[in-house]
Amino acid sequence: MRVVSKREEAPGVRTLKLEFLNQEHHEFFRNHYQTGMFGLYGIFGEGESTFCVASPETRKDYIECTFRQSGRVTSTLAAVDAGDIVTFRGPYGNRFPIEEFEGKNLLFIAGGIALPPTRSVIWSCLDRRDRYRDVTIVYGARTVADLVYKNELDEWKQRDDVNLVLTVDPGGETPDWQDHVGFVPSVLEKVAPSPDNTIAVLCGPPIMIKFTLNALEKLGFSADNVYTTLENRMKCGIGKCGRCNVGSVYICKEGPVFTASEVQAMPQQDL
C-alpha cells in the first residue's frame, strides 16, 4: 500500500493514511472490512506489526492506522513519508456488531493510544448518526500532549450531537486546560449516561480496562452491553502462531472485539 499522508498525533504517535495499489486487494478489503477489525502493517526487512484499522467501515477508500513508535517495526513505520510503500495483511478478526447498537445510546470510553479502535466505531456510527441516539465519548490520556486526533476531538466538541468528555491524568494538565483532570474510571462515574438502553465501547490499556469495567458495573451497565477490544501480541493474525491466545480464545480470530462478559469468562490472569 502507498502512504498518502502521515500525521503526528502526539509525541511518538503517528497516523498513516494508506491507499491500495492493487485493485484486487482493495476489492477484498471493501467486501470484508467492518469496524473493529485489525491488520498487520509491515515493512519488508523489519517485519509486521499489528494494530486496528482506525478508519471506519463507512470510509473504505483508504485505511488509516495510528500507532506508537516503540519497537523495530513501528520505528520504521514512523519514518515513512507520503509515497512510501508499506504492506498490509487483513482485515482480520471480528467486529463491533454496530447494527445491534442501532436505536441505542452509545458511550465510548478510550484511554491514550487506544482511541484509534474506538474512533473507527465512533465514525462508523457518526457517519450514520440518525440510527443511534445519544453519543457520549469519554477520552483520557496521561497528559494533554498525549491526546491523539486533536483535530477530530475539536470537531466532536463542536458537534451538538456528540457529548465529548476529555480528561488527563493528574499532573498531565497544562495551564490552559479546560476539561477534566482525573483518571478515566473516576471521571466516567461523574459523567456517564444512564445504563438504560446504552451500549458502552471501551478501549484502553489493560489496567485501565480493569478499573473502568468495575466503574461501569458500579454504574449498572450489564457486562453484555459493554464491548472492548483486546490487543495482544500477534504474528500471524490467522489463528496459527499461538501467541495471542487468552485461554482457549484466539484473539486474532475470535476477537479482537469482545463483550465484557466474554472477557470476564477468560482466565483473568492471562489478560
Partner: protein, 656 residues
C-alpha cells in the same frame, strides 16, 4: 522514509581521473532512499556548498553523503553547510573516495566499484543517523589548584591574573613546596627563596586567589565545568583571622626538639611551629601529636603567651564543599630516602645524606646557616662524594626512569661546595651526565672546569665507615680500574618518586597513574597537561620528574588550558557520547570498570513511592569522551554510542 542526497566531488582531477564519477552517480541514484544525487568539480568550494544547501532545501533531504575526501579534511565544512540549510549537521557522512580510493588505486574500474560500495554503505549508515545536538555543559569559572609548590603557585597566579577565581589547596601549613627547601637553583645559582618567596606572597595576597593551607582534598565529584570538591581544613589550633605571626608562641613552646621535616631532620622545631621562617601564611600550627597540652592536658603556655588570644585548642577539622569548574593537580613528589640503599648503609651512616639534605646544608636560612657541615659531628667535610643515579634507572629499586634533575643539582652541589669550602675535594660517581636544557651543559662544564668537580664514570658497589671516614669503593669504567675514595660526607642523588599517597589520591579524584604512581596525562605528546578526566589538569612533578623551569612551564600550560575552558560560560562538546538503555541494563557494572574516563556511574531507578526497582549504569555526558569501549563490552547491548550506533554500523556493514 529517508531522503538522502549524494554529492560526488571530482576534486578537480583528483577523484575524477580514477573514479568514474558519472557511473557512481547513476548507480547510487538507483539506490533505495537516494532522493538526489549530483556531481561537481569542487563541492568544498562556495558554489559547491551552495549546491548542497540548495539540494537539501529543495528536496527536503533527511541526510547527506558527500563522496569526496577524508572526513578529517572536510567533515566540518559540510556539517556547517548542512546546518545552514536547516539540516542537522550530524545527518552527514563523508565517503572517502579520494585519500582511500582514487589516490591509492590504479585501476579505474576497481576504484569505481570501491567508490560505489563505500558510498552505498554510508548511504545506509546516514539513513540511520540521528539528529544530535552539541552537548552544552555549564562551566563554573573557578579553578582549584591542588598543591602549593612552585607549579601550583604558578598555575594559580596565571589563572588568577587572567581574572578567574582560584582556590589553592596545600596540605602543609605553608605553601612553597620543595622549592622553598632549596638553596640556590641551577643553572643561574640564584637563591631559591629569593625567587620563590615573592611569588608565594603574591599568591596569598592576590584578590582572586583563596589559599587554603593545612587542607586536604578528600573527594572530587562531578565532571568538567562542574566539580564539587570536598576539602578538609585541618585544625590549626591557631586562629588564622587574628594571628599576626609574631612568633612569640613559638619562642615559648617548651617542646623544642622535634626534628623538622622542612630541614630534613637536620634541624628542630617546636610543637607550635611554622615550617620555615618565610612561611606563607605566617601563621603557626600546633602539632597535636607532640603538643604537651594535647598529650597531658596541661601546658597552654602558647595560649598564655599570645597577646591577641589567637590560640584555640577547641578547633576542629572543617569540611568545606567547593564548586569549581577545573582542577589543576600539582601535588609534587618526594625524594626517595637513603634507608633503601643497602650498599650505602641503609641510612645508618649519618654522613650519607640525600641531595635534599645537602640543599638545607647549603641554604643560608638552613640549620647551618649555609655552612657545609657534616651531620655527624658538625665538622666541615674535606672530601665529598656524590653518587648520581642512586636509585634512578635502577629496576632493582623499582625506579626504571631517570629522575632528570640529579645530574644538574649534583653539579650545582659540587659548585656550591667548592665555593664554600675552597680546599674541599669532590668526587662524583655518574652513569651519564644528562644536561639537556638551556644553559645546562654549560653549567656542568663550569662545575668541572672552574670548580674542579671530579667526575668518575662508574657505579659504587660498596660504602662503609672506617676510622671516622666513609670509604667509597667503586669502579672507574672509563679507566677500567677499581676506585676507592675516603670521604667525609656522601651525597646520594636519590630518585625523585611520587608522593607516598599518590595512587590513593589519584583514585580519590578519579585520574589515572602509571606503575610508579606518577599521574597519567591524556596523551603523552599531544595532551601532556590534561588527564583522561576532562577538566582535570596536571602540573609539575606529580606527572613525572621535572625541574623548576619545566614545572613552571607546565603549570602555565595547565593554566592556559583552564583559561581556555573558562573562556565560555557553556562548554560545547561533540554529542558523540554513550547512553544506557535502562530497561535492558542488567547492572553488571562491566562498563563502569572498563570506562577509561570514569564516566559511568550507578543510578537507582525507583517507583513513584521511591522504592528501588533496579540499579542501572548511567553515562555522564560531561565526562564521556565517546570511545565506545563500554558499548562493545555490554553483553546485552544496553549501551549505545551516538554517531556510531549499533544500528548505524550494522547498516554500514550490511550495506557493503
Amino acid at each position: 522514509m529517508a531522503k538522502i542526497g549524494v554529492f560526488v566531488c571530482h576534486c578537480g582531477e583528483n577523484i575524477a581521473s580514477m573514479v568514474d564519477t558519472g557511473k557512481l552517480v547513476t548507480t547510487i541514484s538507483e539506490h533505495p532512499g537516494v532522493a538526489f544525487s549530483s556531481e561537481y568539480k569542487y563541492f568544498c568550494s562556495d558554489p559547491g556548498q551552495e549546491t548542497v544547501k540548495k539540494a537539501i532545501r529543495e528536496n527536503n533531504l533527511t541526510g547527506v553523503v558527500v563522496a569526496a575526501c577524508s572526513p578529517r579534511m572536510h567533515e566540518q565544512t559540510f556539517r556547517k553547510a548542512c546546518a545552514e540549510a536547516g539540516l542537522n549537521p550530524y545527518m552527514l557522512e563523508l565517503a572517502n573516495i579520494r585519500e582511500q580510493c582514487s589516490w591509492v588505486h590504479t585501476d579505474k574500474i576497481q576504484a569505481t566499484d570501491k567508490a560505489i560500495e563505500i558510498t552505498r554503505s554510508l548511504v545506509e549508515k546516514v539513513k540511520r543517523n540521528n539528529n544530535l545536538q552539541p552537548i552544552s555543559v555549564p562551566v563554573t569559572r573557578r579553578a582549584m589548584v591542588i598543591g602549593g609548590g612552585v607549579a601550583g603557585i604558578q598555575a594559580a597566579l596565571d589563572i588568577a591574573s587572567a581574572g578567574r577565581e582560584v582556590i589553592l589547596v596545600e596540605r602543609e601549613p605553608s605553601i612553597g613546596g620543595h622549592m622553598a627547601q632549596l638553596s640556590e637553583t641551577f643553572p643561574t645559582l640564584d637563591c631559591s627563596q629569593c625567587i620563590l618567596t615573592p611569588r608565594m606572597v603574591e599568591a596569598v595576597q592576590h584578590p582572586n586567589i583563596t589559599v587554603m593551607t593545612y587542607s586536604e582534598v578528600e573527594e572530587v565529584d562531578g565532571y568538567i565545568g562542574n566539580f564539587t570538591v570536598k576539602v578538609r581544613q585541618k585544625a590549626r589550633y591557631v586562629k588564622m583571622e587574628t594571628c599576626t605571626g609574631c612568633g612569640d608562641c613559638i619562642q615559648k613552646c617548651p617542646v623544642k626538639k622535634i626534628p623538622s621535616d622542612f630541614e630534613c631532620g637536620l634541624g628542630n622545631r617546636t610543637a607550635i611551629y611554622t615550617p620555615f621562617a618565610q612561611a606563607v601564611p605566617n601563621v603557626p600550627v600546633i602539632d597535636r601529636d607532640r603538643c604537651t597540652y594535647f598529650k597531658n592536658g596541661k601546658c597552654k603556655i602558647c595560649q598564655k603567651t599570645c597577646q591577641i588570644d589567637s590560640i584555640d585548642f577547641e578547633q576542629q577539622d572543617r569540611m568545606v564543599s567547593l564548586e569549581v569548574g577545573a582542577i589543576v593537580v600539582a601535588t609534587g613528589f618526594q625524594v626517595q630516602n637513603t634507608a633503601l640503599y643497602g650498599e650505602y648503609g641503609y641510612g645508618r651512616y649519618k654522613d650519607v645524606i640525600t641531595g635534599l639534605h645537602f640543599e638545607r646544608l647549603a641554604s643560608a636560612s638552613g640549620p647551618t646557616a649555609g655552612k657545609i657541615l657534616r651531620p655527624s659531628d658538625g665538622k666541615e667535610p674535606e672530601t665529598i662524594v656524590f653518587l648520581q643515579c642512586a636509585g634512578s634507572r635502577d629496576a632493582a629499586k623499582g625506579v626504571k626512569y631517570c629522575s632528570k634533575i640529579c645530574c644538574m643539582y649534583t653539579a650545582k652541589h659540587a659548585m656550591l661546595y667548592a665555593h664554600k669550602v675552597h680546599h674541599g675535594k669532590t668526587r662524583i660517581f655518574y652513569m651519564d651526565i644528562r644536561a639537556a636544557g638551556k644553559g645546562y651543559d654549560e653549567f656542568t662544564r663550569r662545575a668541572i672546569e672552574e670548580d674542579q668537580a671530579g667526575y668518575i664514570r662508574g657505579r659504587v658497589s660498596k660504602l662503609y665507615e672506617e676510622n671516622g671516614k666513609l670509604i667509597v669503593r667503586g669502579v672507574d669504567t672509563l679507566l677500567g680500574k677499581p676506585v676507592e675514595v675516603e670521604a667525609d660526607m656522601v651525597v646520594l642523588a636519590t630518585a625523585m618518586i611520587p608522593q607516598p599517597d599518590a595512587k590513593e589520591f589519584a583514585k580519590r579524584i578519579g585520574i589515572g597513574y602509571d606503575e610508579y604512581g606518577f599521574y597519567n596525562e591524556a596523551h603523552l605528546k599531544l595532551r601532556p597537561v590534561e588527564t583522561a578526566t576532562a577538566g582535570i589538569y596536571l602540573a609539575g612533578a606529580c606527572q613525572s620528574p621535572k625541574d623548576i623551569p619545566d614545572s613552571v612551564a607546565q603549570a602555565s600550560a595547565a593554566a592556559a588550558k583552564v583559561l581556555g575552558l573558562f573562556s565560555k560560560e557553556q562548554l560545547e562538546r561533540e554529542p558523540v557520547v554513550a547512553s544506557v538503555s535502562d530497561s535492558t541494563c542488567a547492572g553488571c557494572w562491566g562498563c563502569v570498570i572498563a570506562c577509561p574516563y570514569n564516566a559511568i556511574d550507578r543510578r537507582d531507578i525507583t517507583d513513584r513511592n521511591g522504592n528501588l526497582i533496579k540499579r542501572v549504569a548511567s553515562v555522564n555526558p560531561g565526562l564521556c569522551q565517546g570511545c565506545g569501549t563500554c558499548v562493545s563490552f555490554c553483553r546485552s547491548n544496553s549501551i549505545d554510542l551516538a554517531g556510531f550506533t549499533e544500528k548505524q554500523i550494522f547498516a554500514e556493514v550490511m550495506g557493503l
